[in-house]
Amino acid sequence: MLKVEGLHAYYGRAHILADVAFEVSSGEVVVLLGRNGAGKSTTMKSIMGLVAPASGRIAFRGTEIAGKQPFEIARLGLGYVPEDRRVFTELTVEENLEVGKRPANPDAPEWTTEKLFALFPNLARMRDRPGSQMSGGEQQMLTIARTLMGNPSLVLLDEPSEGLAPVIVEQMAKTILDLKQQGLTVLLSEQNLHFARTVADRALIIEKGRIRFAGTMAELMANEGVRAQYLSL
């Protein structure tokens, strides 16, 4: 569904991504694991067109998307949930969802405000609350819901567990599994291996802008050497 090949990206002169390549198939949850600054967010932003990659090919359902505008990429059915949440602070919950709304997509689950309120009951209780008056966990739910309003077939979830209380992280894991059940494909970036384990089918490990490991979650859990080298602090 998503195929990344030979992706290079720079910030000024700093080489952030070097020859990143991977694939995500329909219906999968794939996790991109790595430490802070390894290149996870830059990978996500490059796919979304928010960072211009210096070179490389990114194909989404057969369409080349490298070099396209973010809005064009989003309209193809790619959803993006940024790491720092970025809810519209002065807009209410319902208005935030309205901004994300897009026409139905034949190959993806169709979302409505009411369906999302059923998925995130917390949000249903604060329809008219401005984004600035929500807790971190609530904001995280809202950004995911807002992205789902665009009826994406693949969602890029950038570190959804970051800074959340353990009980919320658990809820988040349940939500992601729920979404997978409904046929959504997810590319997730994480530092939290425990969280990743509960949701992901496959894992990629990125370090210093290069993919160091690719395999199933089971393979990763069996390979203590790789985990020690790239994931332990």
Binding site: R13, M48, L50, Q69, P70, F71, A74, R75, Y80, P82, R86, F88, T89, E90, L91, E95, N96, E98, V99, G100, K101, R102, R146, T147, G150
Partner: protein
Amino acid sequence: MDLIFIQMLNGLASASSLFLVASGLSIIFGVTRVVNFAHGSFYMLGAYIAWTLVTRFGPASPLGFWGGVILAALLVGVIGVLVEVLLLRRIYHAPELFQLLATFGVVLMVQDIALAVWGPQDLLGPRAPGFRSFLTIFGNRFPTYELFLICLGPIVLGALWLLFNRTRWGTLVRAATLDREMVGALGVNQRMLFTSVFFLGACLAGLGGALQLPREAVNLHMDLSIIAEAFVVVVVGGLGSVTGAYLAAVIIGVMHAFGILIFPKITLVLVFLIMAVVLVVRPHGLMGRKPSGPQHGPAVKEPLLSPATREVKMLGAAALAVLLVAPALLGAYGVSLLTELVILTLFAASLHFIMGPGGLASFGHAAYFGLGAYGAALAAKWLAAPMLAGMVVAPIFAGIAGVIFGWFCVRLSGVYLAMLTLAFAQIAWSVAFQWVELTGGDNGILGVWPAQWASGKVVYYYLALILCTAAVLALRAVIFAPFGYALRAGRDSPVRAEAIGLNVTRINWAAFIVAAVAAGIAGGLYAYFKGSVFPTYMAIPKSVDALLMVLLGGVQTVTGPIVGAFAFVWMQDWLVRAVAEYWRLVLGAAIVVIVLAFPQGLVGSLVAWRERRGDADAAEPVAEGAR
């Protein structure tokens, strides 16, 4: 009592037009972060186009009049879209001053285009069909058209509120105001959104202008006079807040109306007082919030300022030597041009002093130049002061203004600061323009001649050269003195500078005063050089001249403004001679082209170019163009 009531109504009526223009400005700024100087031009075009359409369609028939007004507003909206698509879309990532400058280029072009199409004479518009009668209120006759305008303000406010809060488009616009990039990542075409916002904003300005038709004659000065007031309204109301714009327009409109009763000479000073009070109590305006979310980063990549190298010092000495012997080689015209150039160099250097090291972008620096000139001229006229005394009065006069205006200005930053400096300059201009008994108004003050010994052109040139060179060198010395380091520290990181015990506000204030004094010296020299002073010395175009000189040369070099002043004076002299009649059009186009070609400024572009070229040796710090 009844007179107060009538004045109140008058104030409310003028508030409506002001609100239409200011709300458009505010909406455009909210989404695109561009301060659209050309908004006053949209207002003026609205009036002119409406005049043409209404006279063509038949001013007597309601359809002819109202159809013309509405069509004019829509046409101005289309012109706004053209400006956005052809110009602004390409410079959304440029530093804000460049955007302001580019839109000022549009102002100049529109002025000449309007002059060519509609001619220099004022055009009287027809009265509005259906609103020609008067109502008698407390025994005073009050035009019904004014009542219509009074009602229109709140109606437009309500319509805008509904548009922004009850439609999907409005929700998207508010979201884009908060985080443009995220809106794009959610599948919204920002370009279309920006263009549509621009259309709405320009329509509002055009409507404001078209509705003036029955109230005042259409003229070529409508653009700059409304834009200064609209800036004040937007600053007082809070950038990006439509409700704030309405409140501020009402306050200012009403105060204006009363001011005419009480102090007819200095109505704009009243406006200034209101603004001052509001900004002291609420620095971000009545309804404004501290800007949140991503702001403009540091405008140009800033190389470190460093003292002149040996080569640059020698180059400077050589240039000075050339200037010293130049009169021997040039005729009278050449010496005159050179004198003007030397004076303007000091003017540019004084602006650079607060803009570069201070990071305070002033859009009204001509105020201090002009006040210096008026200081000298007033001393000569009313006190019969000799030239040297006049030249001492000049910087003092400008310095006092710097103390007062600066106190307010340094409390703000970014576009707020730019607008506030502009508003102050406009106030200084209006005092010179309106207080005819003291300043001679538009006729200026004549007969400001230098002393006998300095009356020769060459002698005066040397006098200017000595004073300006000394002042420029003094400014340089201050930049590299501990005070200059503190100033730059405050610019680069106000919080950290405060943390190590620097009082950033006070340092900026002091810098503002120093710059004002230096500009005042230049102004004093200019007054005796020209032998007369006029309000135009403090008008907006003069401020823009200074900005052009600084930006041409490069904000982040000490030598930049000097180079910029030479380039500018040469360019203007050439323009005026080559295309005498429509030089504004050409100058405006030149500004637009410069901004489009070098969106980071000449020096910024040079730095970027060097960086690209020198990619191999990443460790080598980028050398600065001119030190």
